[in-house]
């Protein structure tokens, strides 16, 4: 009982962080499924969302600022795709990945410029940020809300993909880009919607993630972003349930590592896991194998 008592906070934190990673990693996995692109800027969009919330809430009530944050983040994701990725549709894959790295660099520098490189106090969202005691452990409400909200959003998303026309188009494009194009699917629209959904989830994830912390810095999202990507690979890139499962596994195990005193290696562990998966099961937990034609 003592053991559980001592480790419960870490487990709860792990589940919570896992849910937040899940929301980010869906953006990675959907974009990868369709464009075969690691969207290196996704983690930065997640951070920008936090700054939107900070700056908007300074001038308007939360009930306005938070929805507006989501809208602006979605617009940002859409614009990034249009400006930095769409022109490179026919270019080699390396070019578009480099463009993603460039966008990430630009967003980071922009955030640094606007904040002056200082950490900003994150907004306190009522109820979500309030404390709650559970089996003798005090934690924030967000810890309990995150997994529930994540699962609701994922279920909605999976329904959307499996049962709507646009979802069908998405599946078609991710299966075979060229053929989908020939079949008259509006590729650009599908890609835009993918980015919109990804950014929406990143914005929600950002609110939950940063509610756990007091402050946000321009580079705060880089590491969670990378980890969310690892989660997507771990689960089998292109698969939404895979990304979610992967994210929870990573979130929980890195927090348990902290519980046993290996905090210095919690980041390294994630990457070690990544390499392990890539080497022994490159398709991840739920991914599909593809063969190259010669």
């Amino acid at each position: 009982m003592d053991f559980i008592q001592a480790n419960l906070p870490y487990l709860l934190a792990g589940i919570s962080v896992g849910g937040q990673y899940a929301l980010i990693s869906i953006g990675y996995t959907m974009v990868y499924g369709i464009l075969r692109l690691i969207n290196f800027a996704h983690g930065d969009i997640f951070t920008v969302a936090a700054f939107f919330a900070v700056y908007l809430s300074a001038t308007m009530p939360l009930i306005v600022s938070l929805p507006l944050t989501v809208v602006l983040t979605v617009v940002l994701g859409f614009v990034v795709e249009r400006v930095a990725y769409a022109p490179l549709r026919e270019a080699p894959r390396m070019s578009i990945m480099i463009s993603a790295i460039g966008v990430s660099y630009l967003l980071q520098n922009l955030m640094w410029y606007i904040t002056g490189g200082l950490a900003k106090q994150y907004v306190t969202i009522p109820w979500i940020s309030s404390s709650v005691t559970l089996w003798g452990t005090t934690t924030k409400m967000v810890t309990l809300v995150t997994p529930v909200l994540t699962i609701i959003l994922v279920v909605v998303l999976v329904q959307l993909i499996n049962h709507t026309k646009i979802g069908m188009a998405m599946r078609a494009v991710s299966k075979d880009f060229e053929t989908a194009k020939l079949m008259g699917i509006k590729i650009d629209a599908v890609i835009s919607i993918t980015f919109v959904i990804g950014s929406f989830l990143a914005a929600v994830g950002s609110m939950l993630y940063f509610s756990n912390y007091t402050a946000v810095t321009p580079l705060a999202g880089a590491m969670p972003g990378l980890k969310a990507f690892v989660a997507a690979v771990f689960g089998g890139i292109g698969s939404i349930p895979g990304a979610v499962v992967g994210a929870f596994i990573i979130g929980i195990s890195e927090n348990l590592l902290k519980a046993v005193g290996l905090t210095a290696f919690s980041d390294a562990f994630t990457f070690a896991l990544l390499i392990f998966v890539l080497v022994f099961k490159p398709t991840g937990l739920f991914g599909e194998a593809t063969t190259d034609k010669v």
Partner: protein
């Protein structure tokens, strides 16, 4: 014509040697100047001037030319109009100040003469290219030396040149992978870290170890290696890690390779910061007091040799195999090229030079800390490679200097608030430089995807051809 060339070259050598002898004599010491100044007037009345004079003498004896000159200048300026330097003094000072530059010029003249001699005797033109290259190289290094003497070793120009040369080496090593072999690797920062730490750990002077490793009882390593040995060791350590890392990851396809190498770099960073390895790595604390360099000639020489080696590799049969893998893996394999072995080769070699580059960077910074080698460092290097042109060595070199010069120097003004009269120029404040800078990079990535050089190399032949073609079209 031949006789004329021979005579001219001999004359040039003679005059250069004369100059060296003369300058060498005059270089001697500034004691005479100071003594003569003392005699001329004016035993310094002001205590400050007196101090400058004493310091000048002191540093002249210690052989610190730069300091001597600074103090003589201060001394002379201190008198203002009262002091008229005599002709002899001016001459002596001039030679003392510019002597090394003059010797550098003489050496260039001698090499030029030798090149001329070669062109005169070598009727078949076999050594012409070698002679021209030798001349250009000597010209480059002499130029750097002279500029350093004029501008001072710690001037902004020299800082940019030093860092630019180091980045050039690392960018070229990354280009070997990304541009020439088509392996999208993002692990360069990790290998630089290994190089930087290996170098630093093995060159901290024994007497300083207790101080540097104050939390770890003076550390584990209790000896120091000569800098050049440590530099090679830095490369070897990075190459060794690369060969281990390469075994699993090089079988992965493009973007998986990118994320796996990125992950490895992060793991390496975590390991080097790990407290348990403190006696070796000093944990998350700084490493300092290791051997460094003063003159830009050192990084230029090391980077120059390394880049030349990479260029020679790329122009060998192995380089052709790398390019074949980049162009079409399946076809390359069908032509009998062992994919894994050649990828591993490129990866290990690239990491070796990244390690050497990391060591140079540590020397440049004089301190080193693992937390600085983040993935953003690799991103920066990748952007340099893209700006220069994937698959162009000269492009990477050019882009490195441009990148460093812009980020450290030319765009600095964007970070300072500027006033025009009462009007404050909008936007300009700390951080704006990097915003503009990254926006420029995005423009290059999106609209000039081939970068400065594409996959072509800068060469005199191409340049002269281009000029000739321009001339022709103008005549037509």
């Amino acid at each position: 014509m031949k006789a004329f060339k021979i005579i001219l070259s001999l004359l040039l050598v003679a005059s250069a040697v004369a100059l060296i002898v003369f300058v060498g004599g005059a270089l001697g010491n500034p004691d005479d100047v100071i003594a003569r100044l003392d005699a001329d007037n004016l035993a310094a009345t002001d205590s400050k001037l007196q101090k400058a004079r004493d310091r000048a003498l002191e540093s002249a004896q210690a052989g610190d030319r730069e300091k001597t000159l600074r103090n003589i200048d201060r001394y002379v300026e201190g008198f203002g109009d009262q002091l008229e330097l005599g002709g002899q003094n001016r001459l002596d000072l001039f030679f003392y100040r510019h002597g090394p530059s003059l010797i550098a010029v003489s050496i260039v003249v001698i090499v030029a003469a030798a090149a001329l001699l070669v062109s005169a005797l070598d009727s078949r033109g076999r050594y012409r290219k070698a002679a021209i290259y030798a001349l250009l190289i000597v010209l480059l290094y002499a130029g750097i030396y002279i500029v350093e003497n004029l501008a001072g070793a710690s001037s902004m120009l020299m800082t940019v040149l030093k860092k630019g040369a180091i980045y050039a080496l690392i960018a070229v090593s990354l280009n070997l992978l990304n541009g020439f072999t088509g392996l999208f690797s993002l692990g360069q920062a990790g290998f630089m870290l290994i190089g930087a730490y290996t170098y630093a750990i093995f060159t901290i002077a024994t007497e300083n170890r207790a101080q540097v490793y104050q939390y770890y009882n003076g550390g584990l390593v209790q000896f120091s290696l000569p800098p050049l040995v440590a530099l090679v060791l830095a490369g070897l350590a990075a190459a060794f890690f690369a060969s281990l890392v390469g075994l699993p990851v090089l079988r992965l396809k493009s973007d998986y390779l990118a994320i796996a190498t990125l992950g490895f770099a992060e793991i390496i960073r975590a390991i080097f910061q790990y407290d348990g390895l403190g006696p070796l790595t000093n944990g998350s604390n700084l490493l300092r007091k290791f051997a460094t360099f003063d003159s830009a000639l050192f990084p230029f020489a090391v980077a120059g040799v390394c880049i030349a080696l990479i260029a020679m590799l790329i122009h060998s049969t192995y380089g052709r195999a790398f390019k074949a893998i980049r162009d079409d893996e399946v076809a390359a394999e069908a032509m009998g090229i062992n994919l894994f072995r050649h990828k591993q080769m490129a990866f290990v070699i690239s990491s070796f030079f990244a390690g050497v580059g990391g060591a140079l960077l540590a020397m440049f910074q004089t301190t080193v800390q693992a937390s600085a080698f983040k993935s953003s460092m690799t991103y920066e290097l990748l952007l340099i490679v893209v700006i220069g042109g994937m698959g162009s060595i000269t492009g990477s070199v050019l882009a490195s200097f441009l990148f460093i010069a812009s980020s450290e120097w030319w765009l600095r003004f964007l970070d300072n608030t500027q006033m025009i009269g009462d009007f404050q120029v909008p936007l300009l404040r700390s951080g704006f430089r990097m915003v503009v800078f990254s926006a420029i990079i995005m423009v290059v990535v999106l609209f000039y995807r081939r970068g400065i050089m594409g996959d072509k190399e800068f060469s005199l032949k191409r340049l002269s051809q281009r000029f000739r073609r321009k001339g022709e079209s103008r005549n037509a």
